[in-house]
Amino acid sequence: MSGSTIIFYMLAALTLVSGLLAVTTRQIFRAAIFLLFSLIGIAGLFFWMQYDFIAAVQIVVYVGGITVLIIFSIFLTQQAGDLLPKQKIGRQVFSVLAAFCGFALVMVQLYQHSFNTTTDQAVEPLVANIGNQMLGVGDSGFALPFEVVSILLLAALIGCIVIAAPFYVPKGGEQNPTSKTASA
């Protein structure tokens, strides 16, 4: 057994175990930390597949961005030391059953299907190749989706400010009565 195999199994175990703990623990802050380790494991899997750029993006965006955002929102909305309420046993049984049945169905399909591999010359996923194709306007360029995503990010930015702004003062200088009570 080679070192690469051992590393793969370790990364897979890290991802799955910490993901499972993230959805089952009753302390919400620990759930966020386990989610962090699960995302790091997934970034490790990308490194293992030698897709360095996507692994770096995963670490920067998910581990450094989204998880920190989630931890901040936990600090803003939860009392320290609170446990999440226990779920009804019926709902838990149903959820385990639904998730397991879906998993079994996908696995059965997966092992009955044989994938066709190609013998064409592989393209190295270098950053230069990625950048050229990402901004290319030619046959296989992704310039249009790139621009669409930039509009989406702008819309999300404005939407976040509008939704989370504490209260809204109209032009007359008088506060909106509903938002006044909400901000009090």
Partner: protein, 104 residues
């Protein structure tokens, strides 16, 4: 243990997906539901990259799809957290059972 290949990666991604589905079914707190959604989106990314590496190594389409998925997921998480903060300001709670004013 076998040499890991495409099927192993697909097993991992399927397992992460259904862990996320389980969390989404059982959790009743909006922040933890958002965490489950992040797990689901990440399993899709593993799938895209694995298929790109093992089945279509002469193209990079899977890699671009996962970059766009990450961008959309970041936007989605930011908007979702803005909504959660707003909901907490109005209800002093982010439990989905207590935010049912628009139910009827």
């Amino acid at each position: 243990m076998m040499e890991p290949g495409l099927n192993h990666l697909l097993f991992v991604s399927t397992a992460v997906f259904f862990i996320g589905v389980y969390g989404f079914f059982t959790r009743r707190n909006l922040v933890t539901m958002l965490m489950s959604i992040e797990l689901i989106l990440n399993s899709v990314n593993i799938n895209f990259i694995a298929f790109n590496k093992y089945l279509w190594p002469h193209k990079m389409d899977g890699l671009f799809f996962s970059i766009f998925v990450i961008a959309v997921a970041a936007a989605e998480a930011a908007v979702a957290i803005a909504i959660i903060i707003n909901l907490y300001r109005n209800h002093q709670s982010i439990d989905v059972e207590q935010a049912e004013e628009m139910k009827f």
